[in-house]
């Protein structure tokens, strides 16, 4: 590698020439020497493989090979090279102008094809292009390796953030899609009852992004230890990204290499502006409160002891790094010791969207993954890093047993879309519970359909009225709880006292809701229905 850098800097490149014809070989050596290249020449493909193995292909900047040679051909040599080094670019030379041969050469990985005899001018142009190609490929490979290394450091830092005793239970589910950049989480135990959690997602996945992520974590740790508030830290980092970072990028990012030649930056998809979506949660266990600061991060959720999700605020402000000043507003919520806080990065939302399901069913399934170190196959298609953090708001570590599977809010105008809504529920349930018995699935779908239709038809008379559907799984008893709540006044009759044939004839939907689940509870005259379905296998008994 040092030789290569030296060669590149000095303008002298090392070329391996392979040709079985002594005269042609000598002529190429002469021409290349005239072009100021250092040349090694061999007479066969086997000799070339030998020298590339012995000296290492990285010792060369270009390979020029004749096509037809006794024994192994030039195309065979290219095939061998592709299996050993994808960075060394090559030129195929031949007396033949056969188009198929040219095609085969390019398909075999050649960067150029020249006809014998080769003019000095032609050779010069092809050499310059091919050597640049080699250097570019090697730059990319080196950058990729550095990004991988940076990613490893990031992941270690994420784990470091968990060192020490934290006075709460927490679960971190992290599935990075890219080598570096991406998401990070940091925990700080400020005192016996106060914990600071900071979850961040940096834009892009290049080395720049990895640097910003690491730098932010470093700044964060240092400033938190000094007692600086999160607002000050985020404001300070916002100024850094909007001024110093942008200015330094403008100086460095000319898009040209040292020779003034345009460099292909396709591998670096990060935008000029590097931004950071951040959500911090200051948890005060003794006061039972959580103070949230959200800068462009997906809305965090508080999940209560019954497993019901409560979104904390509306969509946060701009990500750090977009505008200066970036006003930050703090939201403080009260929390019960049985509650927990759930934060996820937009990678989870994007992946849920890609799968055609809701965020909660994906979050639920991620939480079920037992082996956290290995990414399950179904999580390998994620378009971005997926990070989810679940923090118990109590001092004791406890198992999460109730977790949301779905939360949807509907309005009256969606009555006509009931089939589509039902298909959405089916997809989510099939994803969250792949082993669910078909008959049980239909029970759930039918009762949910009846409940939601009832809520939309009778409980949402005004355009502003809403019907909320929440599905919660209780893993301790293998139960799926479905809550359907509308803002209407409920039935004009008391469903508890109404029975008989006439009632049955008029309210078959209610009969289904009362009969198919394992348990049903109705409140507010039916404006709030809670149905419980056992998901574990049970004997098929009609609840007549």
């Amino acid at each position: 590698m040092d030789d290569q850098i030296q060669n590149a800097n000095s303008g002298i490149s090392r070329v391996l020439v392979v040709d079985d014809e002594p005269v042609a070989r000598q002529q190429l050596v002469f021409q290349l020497a005239q072009l100021n290249h250092q040349v090694t020449a061999v007479a066969s493909s086997a000799d070339a493989q030998d020298i590339l193995t012995r000296e290492g292909s990285e010792a060369f900047d270009c390979l020029i090979t004749d096509c037809w040679m006794p024994g192994s051909t030039g195309l065979d040599l290219l095939l061998w090279l592709r299996q050993h080094d994808l960075t060394l670019a090559s030129i195929v030379i031949s007396q033949s102008t056969d188009k198929d041969l040219i095609k085969q050469s390019f398909r075999g990985g050649a960067s150029d094809f020249l006809n014998k005899p080769v003019s000095a001018e032609e050779l010069g142009v092809a050499m310059k292009r091919t050597i640049q190609s080699t250097h570019r490929r090697r730059d990319h490979a080196a950058t990729g390796s550095e990004v991988k290394q940076a990613g490893l450091v990031q992941r270690r830092m994420n784990n470091l953030g968990l060192a020490g005793e934290l006075p709460t239970s927490l679960k971190i589910c992290y599935y990075p899609h890219h080598d570096a950049g991406g998401d990070s989480v940091a925990f700080f135990s400020l005192d016996e009852t106060r914990i600071l959690v900071v979850v961040a997602d940096v834009s892009g996945h290049s080395l720049k992004s990895a640097f910003i992520s690491a730098y932010f974590q470093g700044v964060l740790r240092g400033m938190v230890e000094l007692g600086v508030s999160m607002t000050s830290i985020l404001n300070r980092f916002n100024r850094f990204l909007t001024h110093e970072w942008l200015e330094s990028n403008e100086d460095a990012g000319t898009g040209q290499n040292g020779d003034g030649v345009s460099v292909d930056h396709d591998h670096d998809s990060s935008p000029e502006i590097t931004s950071l979506a951040v959500c911090s949660a200051l948890i005060d266990l003794s006061a039972g409160s959580v103070s949230l600061l959200n800068s462009g991060f997906p809305i965090p959720n508080r999940v209560d002891g019954n497993g019901r999700p409560w979104p904390c605020g509306v969509v946060g402000g701009y990500p750090i790094g977009w505008f200066d000043p970036n006003p930050l507003s703090e939201l403080t919520i009260t929390a019960d010791p049985s509650d927990y806080l759930v934060l996820w990065t937009d990678g989870l939302e994007d992946f849920a969207h890609q799968l055609g399901i809701g965020e909660w069913s994906l979050a639920f399934k991620i939480l079920q993954v037992k082996e956290k170190r290995r990414t399950p196959d179904w999580l390998k298609g994620t378009p971005d890093d997926v990070l989810m953090v679940v923090i118990g708001l109590n001092k004791e570590s406890k198992e999460i047993t109730r977790f949301p599977v779905m939360r949807e809010i509907y309005h009256r105008g969606q009555i006509d879309q009931i089939d589509e809504l039902q298909e959405t529920w089916r997809r989510n349930l099939a994803f969250a519970f792949p082993q669910l018995e078909v008959s049980r699935l239909f029970d759930i779908l039918l009762c949910t359909r009846e409940g939601v239709l009832n809520g939309l038809l009778h409980g949402c008379p005004l355009p502003s009225d809403r019907c909320e559907l929440v599905m919660i799984f209780n893993s301790a008893v293998e139960e799926l709880q479905i809550e359907i709540t509308d803002s209407g006044p409920g039935h004009h009759f008391d469903p508890e006292t109404c029975e008989g044939g006439e009632f049955r004839a008029q309210h078959r939907g209610l009969m289904l809701i009362r009969g198919l689940p394992d348990r049903v509870e109705q409140n507010s005259k039916g404006a709030a229905i809670q149905m419980v379905f056992l998901l574990s296998p049970k004997p098929e008994v009609l609840n007549l």
Partner: protein, 108 residues
Amino acid sequence: MKIQFLPSTQMLELAVSGNLLSTNAGRFRVEATEAMDVQSSGTAPWLGVQIDLTDAHMVDSAGLNAIISVIRKLKADGKRALIHVRDPHVYKVCMFTRLDSLAEIVQC
């Protein structure tokens, strides 16, 4: 929906394609009523209606009510109602809502 008269059993068959739900129950009711009216106005004797739900995996309350309206009309004319189902879930719903007391439920 496919409608045909079965001369061998002298029953009018109403074959529902797919599920019978709130989104297609209204159409089922209208088409079934029209078909029964046409059958009644003809000269061929007919004994009743055979509702074919063998293609359905789900029947909701609106679907059940549509079936009930067909059964009511038949009962008023003193005719038979037969319901063919294949899916155990649909069968369960029919039994659960006591549809079996109003029509013959046949599990195919």
